[in-house]
Symmetry: C2
């Protein structure tokens, strides 16, 4: 949809300053360059004005004003996205939600946590653990905000056993594109009361509404967890084991896969040794439960399977120290790969679990075909791959030519395997083309109609997902 | 939305007979009266024509024809709904999906089951159990179709631990109101690829699209289950124990509550004895897991809590015989109450778990105030109550006057307690008024916009949910 948006002028700035305090409205060179991009980097544009909000009422007033005046509004959290979803590609007002960062309530009788959108994932983890409770979604980027996680429907490592962010959102307060504030769901466990707008907001990447409060479902904290680091002679052997583990009816909390050179990059990046780096490829299996006996049975069964399937060894991480060594490396993979090259882009496809090996082998072929470095790691247990395409010393021209070709091949392959464009990073700005190709005309038209049902003027985070 | 729909004529019947075989198109007195209503009974209207379909292509052709000719289309499964969602209140073509009842595939590597919409819940349970797998959603009505369950987002008994139907729908094939067939999701565990239309279809009561195939998530079958039947001196004492169990971080698979006279009604209805009926009220707690030791710890902890809170005794049901005696009674509650009166209607509110006692005590007050018999049973563990208002020997006039007043009070109370109009039965035709009052203008407008985004002519199951 082509829109003629109104450019920000002095009158708009005056209005924003009348709603907020003056020191929470930024223009021109007072806006840090950070706000022009997310972690993807290659999509850049400065907002015309940046505002910091502290409550839903402020958000509502600003959005209503923008709606009435046809000005784009872009909600932003920590900016840890990877698809340019929070880049103001059409300019306009960027709303920084990071100061709405209060944990509002923990309700132990209903097992819910009520938070503002700017609370960080790591803050939630720490807070609920103190109450012997557990918020299962566990994306790698712990400094992401919960608002961002809800908007991408992030999944993370534990999706194998526990599901994704949407499964843990019980209620939302949302500012609609016309400025109205609505409440969706609540502390209730079940809800069949009309269309589930809550579930639609989850994963909508800030294009349908701005989340100003969330009620999250908690669980009792599992008392024990154990990780098995399993070396394999090669990645294919490692990955092919995964559907066999699943079929055995042993469900680990997470199954991550990693290759030696990603591990070596992480070791270098962190200046810390990984427990083992002799093998070409590894699976990292985690099991959690309430007692050692409960998880022992599961991990023994998984251990038998991996050994039968050609694992070289099994390292058990049951001490905090050893777990820390493994998981800090796992947490640093993205940064380590990033540090190893000049520029990169990523592909976040999700394929059925028994198709992962086929997809990864295909990326090897692309690596050779295009003479480009490609690194994989990710969630073997749920089929969600994080594939990084690295520029290294390639010329700008060559990179700009090769990258879209590589992507095209990858997304085509994902489609063939009945996979999806994104498992958890979303579509944002960068993956729109691939979504369009994947889902077909009827589905795309429907998404666009849904966007207009919320936002007839297309002012909220325009240029993203389907428009 | 007021629509002038086209009435069915000979030409339409001819078209339908050209798409289907002649013996799958029914008109006039060849349509059984059953198709004019669901289990609610009080909302009745015959379809102008009834068709039996056997594949998505047939559904697509019929819906496209109806769309082009402005004829209402009403999808129907087993007709076990309780809110008139499948009643053709504007006439038109009723599509009976019951013959699309094939289990298409079980995929043990991805833990998915692919089914047509007319497969019954009890058929799924039996089929997956043979493969040592488990489909957790467990609504009371086992002869409901999976299509109906998806459309109401039914929850059932095990929602406390396992969540609701939506949580187990990985992918859908859907015929849109204009006849186009789209695929949503798939066998993937994670998906952040544009708006989650799949999650919106779940719970949309046949108003946004017709589900013609579903890919369901399965889990390993828990190897052990045990039920505790716990008598209490009164229902308030029983119910007030529930948030304490939840707070103790022991999560049972289900927590049901029941009163003596509902049990007596079920005993009479079934001609079978319940293990105990001396107490005024009972909680029925179930625990499942992979070993006796695993669940023992949980139920011992729950047993201590209930005894501390005034439970009179604890009956452990660990034999198949005893479990059968309890669960067959629980399964017969609805029918038993129905058989005990002349007519009834129900309220399916879901309130936060720590507000159930307050809500039930309020229904007692309404019973006295309106001199009307009200029976409760339901899912104490998830706050989803099934409250039955009984006509008994009341005159038609009196019933028609009292029933809306009682409902009005109940839904108002639910709103005060931050509950929702429906936990799992949906809104359909009968609860539209209460949904409107509950959710407010902005939310209702949004739902209507979403309906139009799918169905600009409002031909698919019109007169339901929000229109």
């Amino acid at each position: 949809m082509l829109n003629e948006y109104k450019k920000i002028d002095e009158k708009d700035i005056e209005y924003l300053k009348s709603v907020l305090e003056e020191d929470r409205v930024f223009v021109g060179k007072d806006i840090s360059e950070d706000f022009s991009h997310d972690e993807l980097g290659s999509v850049k544009k400065m907002p015309e004005v940046l505002v910091e909000v502290i409550n839903a009422d402020e958000v509502s007033k600003i959005v209503k004003y923008a709606y009435d005046n046809n000005i784009p509004v872009i909600p932003r959290g920590s900016g840890t996205g990877l698809v340019g979803a929070s880049v103001p590609v059409h300019g306009g007002i960027m709303i920084n939600l990071c100061r709405m960062n209060k944990i509002l309530e923990i309700d132990e009788e209903n097992l819910t946590l009520t938070v503002e959108p700017g609370v960080l994932l790591m803050e939630i983890a720490e807070f609920v653990e103190e109450h012997d409770l557990f918020y299962p979604p566990d994306p790698g980027e712990k400094s992401a905000t919960i608002g961002g996680n809800i908007n991408t429907n992030a999944g993370g490592m534990r999706a194998v056993k526990y599901g994704v962010t949407r499964d843990y959102v019980r209620g939302l307060e949302v500012v609609l594109p016309n400025g109205e504030i609505i409440e969706l769901g609540g502390k209730v466990v079940k809800n069949s009361s009309g269309y589930s707008i809550k579930d639609l907001i989850c994963g909508s990447e800030g294009t349908l509404g701005i989340v100003t409060k969330a009620i999250l479902k908690l669980m009792p904290l599992p008392k024990k967890a154990i990780s098995l680091l399993v070396p394999f002679p090669n990645l294919t052997k490692a990955i092919e084991t995964v559907p066999k583990i699943v079929k055995s009816k042993t469900i680990p909390t997470s199954i991550e896969f990693m290759e030696r050179d990603v591990i070596l990059a992480a070791e270098e990046f962190l200046g810390k040794k990984f427990p083992d780096s002799a093998a070409d490829a590894y699976l990292l299996l985690t099991f959690d439960g309430n007692s050692t006996e409960e998880i022992e049975k599961d991990y023994e069964s998984a251990a038998n399977i991996v050994l039968n399937e050609g694992a070289l060894d099994i390292f058990i991480a049951d001490t905090d120290e050893r777990k820390e060594a493994i998981w800090s490396a796992r947490g640093a993979f993205l940064e380590a790969i990033k540090a190893s090259t000049t520029e990169m882009d990523e592909c976040d496809v999700c394929v059925p679990r028994n198709k992962i090996a086929e997809f990864i082998n295909y990326t090897y072929k692309l690596q050779d075909k295009f003479d480009i470095r490609i690194k994989n790691f990710g969630h073997a247990g749920d089929g969600n791959l994080h594939v990084y395409i690295l520029k290294d010393e390639m010329t700008e021209d060559s990179w700009n030519k090769k990258l879209p070709e590589v992507f095209k091949c990858m997304y085509k392959k994902a489609r063939e395997l009945k996979g999806q464009v994104s498992g958890e990073h979303g579509i944002g700005y960068a993956k729109k083309k691939y979504l369009n190709e994947q889902i077909g005309e009827a589905n795309l038209t429907l998404m666009r109609n849904i966007k207009l049902a919320f936002d007839s003027k297309n002012i909220l985070n325009p240029g993203k997902v389907c428009y």
